[in-house]
Symmetry: C2
Subunit: 209 residues, 2 copies
Amino acid sequence: MDITSLSISQMERSYRTSLINSLNGYKCLQLIGTTGKDGHSNLGLFSSVVHLGSSPALLGVVFRPKSQSHDTLSNIERTGTYTMNNVTQDFFEQAHQTSARYESGFSEFVECGLTELFIPGFDAPFVAESTIRIALNLREILPISINNTTLVIGEVVHISMNSQFIAKDGLIDHEKAGTLTVSGLDSYYTARHLARLSYAKPGIPTERI
Amino acid sequence: MDITSLSISQMERSYRTSLINSLNGYKCLQLIGTTGKDGHSNLGLFSSVVHLGSSPALLGVVFRPKSQSHDTLSNIERTGTYTMNNVTQDFFEQAHQTSARYESGFSEFVECGLTELFIPGFDAPFVAESTIRIALNLREILPISINNTTLVIGEVVHISMNSQFIAKDGLIDHEKAGTLTVSGLDSYYTARHLARLSYAKPGIPTERI
């Protein structure tokens, strides 16, 4: 079927939200941990994390306007630090529950049954249940004026995971780590490794490596 | 294991590239189709597409500096139109091959064995082998000065897919569509649906729907 620009604009709101949120396929799923003004821990679920560069190691995350992410964004702006934590099958229901609109002052860790973890010298909370935990320092906040969203850019300053997840050449095995992926706002998927392919060169067929 | 900021900066370059590119988990995989200056079709593989909003329907994609994506970016700047096309198990090796550095003037469609598809009134080429095809009009180009990358923002103006992939509420079933996901630069995964969860509200346990 063909869906035109006109029919997208005329769709019922929640239908369009589901369709467009699931349009680009499987998305990166991360719990972002921050510290609130009064010192309590805050946790939010995001599917808009994007790799920006490896040297320096930069990750971006898009924040929607006036969403539940508001606390997370203002905490990052104030403290300059945050964590990203992967989500596995063991606790994805608790992770999803963090997207409920808790009032400021409530900690999603407590409300949703997840465990805070801290490392010395870094203020933002990690998720103990996650198998890959990343600490970031805020580097830049880029307003996206076209729809009032915000791209937050952070530098990776610490990574914690089981060393067995990392191949000899540095690639992380997310199947081993149990990482989930998401499509749309609420549809969770496990992933299974299909193949690694060799570096592509003109005229030379790629090989499975 | 713990990986510190210092050890990230001291890593051998290709190891760091693999590690940091695979750090955030499963990424959205899209072939981007454009039209070159001389009228030939161009195709590039991207894993940095991010949902920006549903109304208007906006998708962003991050372009690396001076990479093979250069042709794609300059084509988008010049023509204002491009397509995104999902990748399935049936042709992921051809899709990967498009990341080889073909010289300008060569069409990755021809070189990699993929089939161009056009719709009336839209200039950029789609990938016939893809099961979900999206047409976009350029809306904004946002330079990310911190590492010289670029966020290209486009509005979805046309979508083609089998109507059976779309649930009653608008959610796309990417398992049915055969969509693949990628981790790092070269590690491809299939995905299997785990669960959909109900809209999260404070104090109410989420349910599988």
